[in-house]
């Protein structure tokens, strides 16, 4: 995006934020108790968008009103944040979510009690303004993923444009995905698939075993719950390069949610699902049925694991028969396994047997 373009979006962003403040202004002037309405951000309020094939917020709304003590404080903080973002955009500066949380220390009664609060507020503003926090010049803390594979990209950085081949021009760590993925241009590639991996250990295993070369695959290290930039990049590669995406995680409820945020959209940022979710990403495993069929080394499910599994039974994103069967099976066997447990059968088992078998079943190879 060129400098002018950035200016333009900055202007649009500032105006959208000012519109919110204007709303409050008008309310107060008409003796109306200030309020805003937002879609309720719980799993009870997400629905499947047929067209985009992703999960977005449905119609239920929450009202935040100055009528209650809690609401009043929330609206106060909202305005303080708007004021801050207006300043930030005007000065062409940026900050992280965490910095925003700390800056609020000076805001007196509008101080945030924890970072979750300020993170949530930024998400609220995204939804209301129909923009992304990148537009506010707000960055997250977490790293994006790294990728390794037969693809050449051009990235626009603060220090000029860089052209990078994600096997030849990178070290062991791979290519670090930047925060703003829209600054990347795909130049050329020889890839046939994209495999997104949860753990660093498994990612290293695949690279050591030359999986990217053997299967012409772009290996994406998700680093746990994937950052927005990671999800965005996967989506872009899937759409623009027409490459199938598979996701390979541990076999526990938290890992299934990792898959869900790649494929279905997250509950927290369902307003951005169309932008970040890859609906045709498929789940390789580790599945509960794999635990049984491959007789993998296991750990017992903790109480939190059980709770999370049960919660997923009522999460509409896991509503398919496939998931219902797998989750119920896991509740029955009361066990979980890591993806690296495949090493029971030797270091090459995952790349020589498990993955090829599974990918062939799924029709990817």
């Amino acid at each position: 995006m060129n400098k002018e373009g950035t200016q333009q979006t900055d202007e649009i962003t500032t105006n959208r934020l000012l519109e919110i403040a204007q709303q409050f202004y008008d309310q107060i002037n008409t003796e109306t108790i200030p309020y805003i309405t937002l879609p309720t951000r719980t799993k009870a309020n997400i629905e499947y968008d047929e067209e985009a094939e992703v999960w977005v917020y449905s119609d239920r709304e929450s009202v935040r009103s100055a009528k209650t003590v809690r609401g009043a404080y929330q609206l106060l903080k909202t305005n303080y944040v708007i004021d801050f973002l207006k300043y930030q955009l005007g000065e062409k500066r940026s900050s992280t979510l965490r910095e925003l949380y700390y800056i609020s220390e000076n805001w007196n009664l509008a101080k945030f009690s924890e970072q979750n609060e300020s993170d949530s507020l930024i998400e609220d503003l995204e939804i209301i303004s129909k923009l992304q926090r990148e537009n506010f010049h707000i960055r997250p803390e977490e790293d994006g993923a790294s990728i390794m594979g037969p693809i050449k990209v051009r990235e626009k950085t603060r220090r000029g444009t860089k052209t990078i081949h994600c096997q030849d021009d990178v070290g062991e760590g791979g290519y670090q995905v930047p925060n703003n993925v829209d600054n990347i241009e795909f130049l050329e590639h020889d890839a046939k698939m994209i495999i997104a991996i949860e753990t660093g250990g498994m990612r290293d295993r695949l690279i050591e075993n030359g999986f990217d070369e053997e299967y012409d695959s772009i290996i994406v290290h998700l680093k746990g719950q994937p950052a927005r930039s990671t999800r965005r990049l996967i989506k872009r590669m899937n759409e623009e390069l027409n490459l199938p995406v598979v996701v390979f995680t541990d076999g526990d409820p938290w890992s299934y949610r990792i898959y869900a945020s790649v494929a279905y959209g997250s509950i927290k940022s369902a307003h951005l699902s169309k932008y970040m979710a890859t609906p045709n990403a498929e789940f390789i495993g580790i599945r509960p049925s794999d635990i049984v069929n491959y007789d993998l080394p296991t750990d017992k499910l903790t109480d939190q694991d059980v709770k999370a599994l049960k919660s997923e039974l009522t999460d509409p994103r896991f509503g398919s028969d496939f998931w219902k069967e797998e989750i119920n099976l896991q509740l029955k066997i009361k066990k979980k396994s890591e993806q690296q447990s495949l090493a029971k059968y030797g270091l090459d088992y995952v790349t020589k047997t498990y993955l090829p078998e599974r990918l062939s079943e799924m029709g990817v190879v």
């Binding site: 403040a21 109306t32 305005n79 004021d83």
Partner: protein, 621 residues
């Protein structure tokens, strides 16, 4: 030849009548003289009770002095003095030095004296423990002299022994003064002490003034808070349902009526001609029969008839309750608290005797929150100090589920919290657990009535506490809203580079308040003042609005009343606004007012927490 010895006759010679006084001498503990502290208290109690009864009967507001001096070791010198009607000279010796002498024991009416063995027992106790006589001074009228006696009780004959009989000068117009020396122990402090007893007495007798001078010289005065002498309780005849076989047989023997019909009609309360008729029929007895001729069996039939014939309940007006107002006043003066609730229940019946229960609950203030609640027990306006655990009133307290009303009740016994409970049982015949009359007996009717009274005051407390809580919550909310909302308005203005919008209407809206907005606009004639009022509450508001102006208002719309002050005018409007409605008042004055320095209007008749934009006066929450 000698007469053959019959053992029984020999033994009979040894027997002689034991005098009552001798009996008491050997059985002091039954009568309240079982311990040193208690003995002292009992002597004070008898004197004070007598003084109260006498004053009430004479229609005098009691002023009582109690002075206790320590002579040495265990010997104390007690002086009590009152402003009562005094005692007629002839009656003085037997009143003070003959046991069981007095009118109170036989009368069936609510009286304190019913609970005491009488002052004579105190006199006897004093002489036994100190060897000294009791000194009495009494005067019945300003025009008459005061009589002075020194008395002891002759324990064999139960008659007074007069050691001194004199006439003295006394500056009181009337009254009685008693001085005795006795062995005892004075407990300082608040539990089971003379102090506690007198304090409790003054609570339930708020028309009395009691001064206590303790052995260390400390003087305490329990002031009166009422000038109303309680109505005298009336004497009544016994009610049939309270009669048992023994009493009935004795009454039949003692009566001087010649016909049973007359005996029934005049010897009992609530038996009229018809009822008497019904009873005789039911018992199969000739109404003309002589009471003296009654057999045991016939008496039994009569008793059965009492149970089976419908007889009206005993009259309820023979009792004299303390009353809600005086209970409240009494508690208020001794316990500075946040809240008091009282209940005076209607008369009920137990064992044929009318009785009523009154309860009071004092909460908060300086009462400790960590202890079990204090229970002040009273029977016929006399404080019960001992045997709390055995008393029916205490049992009733324990039966109530105090947790439901906001107090802790660990272990289900007496609740804990900053509360003082007052329970008063008044009856023509209070049933006690023992001769010492320390605790009321567990009659179901009594326990039930006490429980009901306690539940009533407890419910009041619960309502008060939740009102308080709501009030606190509202206050907390208000503090937050009043602070936060202006900040929102200011920030919004700042973001938009505009002047901060007026947030007061929104605040008034949120708090459900009455909004008052005054604006001043200079015009060519002077200044135009506009006051806009909007009612954001759920209820209609009726109030007066005042606005002070430096000079006379003209073109007042709508018309109000303008009162000239020393410097300016008080412009008053009488207004009433339905919920959601608003009204605008305008007027003009000649002088030019600075819009930034004008005074706020004043709302009269609404509490300040319910008004935004004006000061208030004369409001209630």
């Amino acid at each position: 030849m000698e007469e053959p010895i019959i053992v029984a006759e020999e033994l009979a010679k040894k027997q002689r009548e034991i005098s009552i006084a001798e009996f008491f001498e050997k059985n002091r503990q039954i009568l309240g003289f079982d311990s040193a502290p208690r003995s002292l208290l009992t002597c004070v109690k008898e004197a004070v009770d007598n003084a109260l009864d006498a004053c009430e009967e004479a229609g005098i507001l009691p002023d009582i002095l109690v002075q206790i001096e320590r002579i040495d070791g265990d010997t104390y010198h007690i002086t009590t003095e009152d402003n009562g009607p005094g005692i007629v000279k002839e009656q003085i010796p037997r009143t003070f030095a003959k046991l069981l002498y007095g009118s109170r024991f036989h009368a069936l009416k609510q009286s304190r004296g019913q609970q005491g063995i009488g002052i004579s027992a105190a006199v006897l106790y004093a002489q036994l423990t100190s060897g000294k006589p009791t000194r009495i001074t009494s005067k019945i009228d300003l025009s008459k002299p005061a009589h002075y006696y020194e008395l002891v009780v002759n324990t064999k004959t139960n008659e007074p022994e007069i050691l001194v009989d004199d006439v003295v000068n006394w500056d009181r117009p009337h009254g009685t003064r008693i001085e005795m020396d006795l062995e005892g122990s004075y407990i300082r402090g608040r539990r089971r002490s003379v102090y506690e007893y007198l304090k409790a007495t003054s609570i339930v007798n708020p028309h009395t003034r009691i001064t206590l001078i303790e052995p260390d010289g400390n003087m305490e005065t329990f002031e009166r808070v009422s000038d109303r002498i309680p109505d005298a309780s009336k004497e009544i005849k016994p009610h049939p349902s309270g009669t048992d076989l023994g009493i009935l047989i004795r009454m039949l023997r003692d009566t001087d009526r010649n016909k049973i019909s007359a005996f029934l009609e005049h010897g009992f309360v609530r038996i009229g001609k018809k009822t008497q008729d019904d009873i005789c029929k039911h018992a199969n007895i000739d109404p003309n029969m002589r009471p003296a001729d009654f057999t045991r069996d016939q008496a039994r039939r009569l008793l059965a008839a009492f149970k089976n014939v419908k007889i009206a309940a005993p009259p309820m007006d023979c009792l004299s309750p303390i009353g809600d107002d005086l209970i409240r006043k009494g508690l208020e003066k001794e316990y500075p608290v946040d809240y008091i609730s009282t209940r005076s229940r209607k008369t009920s019946v137990q064992s044929g005797n009318p009785f009523l229960v009154e309860a009071g609950l004092a909460y908060g203030g300086t009462i400790s929150t960590e202890d079990r609640v204090q229970i002040l027990r009273f029977a016929n306006r006399v404080p019960l100090i001992y045997q709390q655990g055995a008393c029916a009133m205490t049992h009733a307290v324990e039966k109530v589920n105090w947790r439901h009303y906001g107090l802790n009740q660990p272990g289900g016994g007496i609740p804990m919290g900053p509360v003082v409970l007052l329970v008063h049982v008044a009856s023509t015949n209070v049933p006690f657990t023992s001769e010492s009359k320390d605790a009321v007996a567990d009659r179901p009717e009594i326990i039930s009535e006490v429980e009901l009274a306690l539940r009533d005051v407890a419910r009041d407390l619960k309502n008060f506490l939740s009102r308080q809580k709501r009030f606190e919550k509202r206050k907390h909310k208000e503090e937050a809203i009043v602070q936060v909302l202006p900040m929102i308005a200011e920030k919004v203005g700042y973001i938009l580079d505009k002047e901060a919008p007026d947030i007061r209407p929104v605040i008034a809206n949120i708090m459900g308040n009455l909004l008052v907005q005054k604006s001043v606009k200079p015009n060519k004639n002077g200044s135009e003042i506009t006051i806009r009022i909007k009612n954001f509450a759920d209820a209609a508001r009726v109030f007066k609005l005042h606005d002070i102006s430096p000079d006379e208002p003209i073109e007042v719309n709508p018309k109000g009343v303008s009162v000239e002050l020393e410097s300016g005018y008080d412009n008053i409007w009488k207004l009433s606004l339905e919920p959601g409605k608003e009204k605008t008042l305008t007027y003009t004055i000649k002088s030019k007012l600075d819009p930034d320095t004008t005074t706020n209007p004043i709302v009269e008749g609404i509490d300040e927490t319910l008004v935004t934009g004006a000061t208030t006066m004369g409001g209630m929450t």
